[in-house]
Subunit: 336 residues, 2 copies
């Protein structure tokens, strides 16, 4: 449909259509209306896109995203949405705060949107069965597990890295480069969640290598927030400078932590080596580049969708996959 | 509802309920079923949350987000969702690629979800009326304008910064600090979009200060991608080192650009000063911190929702607001 077709259908000249579209005043209201109606009538929307975007409500898959400022999740969400759409279902994304109750949000969404299944992008690690009973459709925990909880393994699926092992390998990398005084700045030692799990991995690495944990080298920030992470590293430095390496449990925390080190006159990696977990894109462009364990975000997203769709077909199906995080070496770690 | 209530309702002991919930094998299938059914029956979902999450379909407001890796948008989306929910409407977010057609996506969403209104979070600057006729509900362009297009101003609303003026002020800041050889690395000179607009602002600042534009100092990257930005700055440096400052049109581009300068042995700000536009959180934590014009993301999000809701009440209403971006001084600019 071109401007010529519209002019022809309305019985006016092309320049008149052009004047209408450009909101020129010198067109009668009657002609203007006729042209605009024709333009609207002709507005073309392909049928296949319309079909793919939203099929019947019984094809809806909810995606509850916990923490909208999480760079890692925003990267995964598009892959999840594309994968769901390609498989002929309709993604229904829903966003909640990083501290909000994803189960309640999912349960409400399930009823209101008549979902076939649910993907939780981020959530608590300590569900008990009573809570999850509110979810009456198959669901997949994407990027986390129920390791601190009591869910029956057959009642759900999960796709994530092994957080504890990944942290152990990150700290092991520091140890293999000669470090033994290794600090850890983490949201919390025992949050029954990702922070505790990665902290346990830190302790595992020390223990495996015969290094005694020193509580003076542990600092808690209360959250993943960059400002809190920055302040946490400053508090650590005020207490002690007796460490050669720093483990932080996320890239954004590490970026803020490196800034705190710098501001306190500590150079990375000359004075302090830094390693983290996540593998954000931005971490390749800071200076020095950050050594980090890269989570396979795309694979995690695709596997989660595939498992969920299999659960829809086969009510007895469930699966728990641990994908591998791979070290991406930056310039933030040196040998000592 | 506690575990005691469930035990009482099922006529079993608390420890039996506990065994069921912890998936112990020593419970009969009949009791297990009875307990789980009671647990599900009691699952508590407050009515007010259910009401707020999704009201009738005629209260649905679509939010089309263009470019899911855009850190700036992910920050605004939650504010938009909260604001829509608080005002008693239901947000319907939909994600598309940064190169996808937001109008078509919006039009499809409008029909399928029976939207009352639409918010476009990112989009093209050059709409013509024919395209937009497909959108039959009020809409707001959030973070951009129709400056290269031909829409009738009364037919829609927009909330954004003045991109051209903001770029002019960013480059003006460099000039006021003594710089006259100022390079610009941008996605494209004439994309009829944000890049062209911010490039024009760069030219404005030079002209206002009697500085002749030098095409040797302009490098195009083809996109906002960090890798392309990094390569763009390297190409610029291969061609010429005869500049003391660099203007980049987004924070993420500038972060990658500073890395390229560093890798080529140029120190920021000693050798080259760098300024950008956006004001991301991460830009406060890189080293040196980035001087950038901060977009008022929360205000932009809230104003967009408020204007859209007013358009729903009053079909004749439309408004175009330009909010002010404010310089956040970092350590990436020095006097020469």
């Amino acid at each position: 449909m071109t401007i010529k077709d519209i002019a022809k259908n309305c019985g006016v000249s092309v320049s008149t259509v052009s004047r209408v579209l450009n909101s020129h005043p010198d067109v009668s209201e009657e002609v203007r209306q006729r042209v605009l109606e024709e333009v609207e009538r002709c507005a073309y929307i392909p049928n296949d896109s319309a079909r793919n975007l939203v099929k019947s409500s019984s094809d809806a898959i909810g995606v509850v995203v916990r923490g909208t400022e999480n760079l890692f999740f925003s990267r995964m969400l598009q892959t999840i949405g594309d994968e769901i759409t390609q498989r002929g279902y309709a993604p229904v994304p829903h966003f909640i705060d990083s501290e909000a109750d994803e189960v309640k949000a999912g349960a409400i969404l399930e009823r209101e949107k008549k979902l076939r299944g649910l993907l939780f992008l981020g959530g608590r690690y300590d569900y008990v069965s009573t809570e999850l009973a509110a979810i009456r459709v198959p669901f997949v925990c994407c990027s986390y597990t129920n390791i601190f909880g009591t869910l029956n393994e057959e009642s759900y699926s999960s796709v994530s890295i092994d957080d504890r092992l990944t942290a152990c390998r990150a700290v092991g990398e520091l140890i293999s480069r000669g470090h033994r005084r290794i600090a850890a700045v983490i949201p919390a030692r025992s949050d029954r969640s990702i922070s505790e799990l990665r902290y346990l991995g830190y302790l595992d690495a020390l223990m495996e290598n015969g290094i005694e944990a020193d509580s003076a080298l542990i600092e808690e920030t209360g959250s993943f927030d960059m400002r809190e992470s920055y302040e946490g590293v400053r508090r650590l430095l005020e207490r002690t400078e007796d460490f050669t390496a720093l483990f932080m449990i996320s890239d954004t925390m590490a970026i803020a932590g490196m800034k705190a080190l710098e501001d306190c006159g500590k150079h990375v990696p000359q004075d302090v080596s830094v390693i983290a977990i996540d593998g954000l894109n931005v971490s390749k462009y800071i200076s020095p580049t950050l050594s980090t364990m890269v989570q396979p975000a795309d694979e995690m997203a695709r596997e989660s969708v595939q498992i969920l769709l299999k659960m829809l077909e086969d009510p007895g199906y469930s699966r728990h996959i641990r994908l591998e995080a791979v070290l991406r070496e930056g310039a933030s770690v040196r040998n000592v």
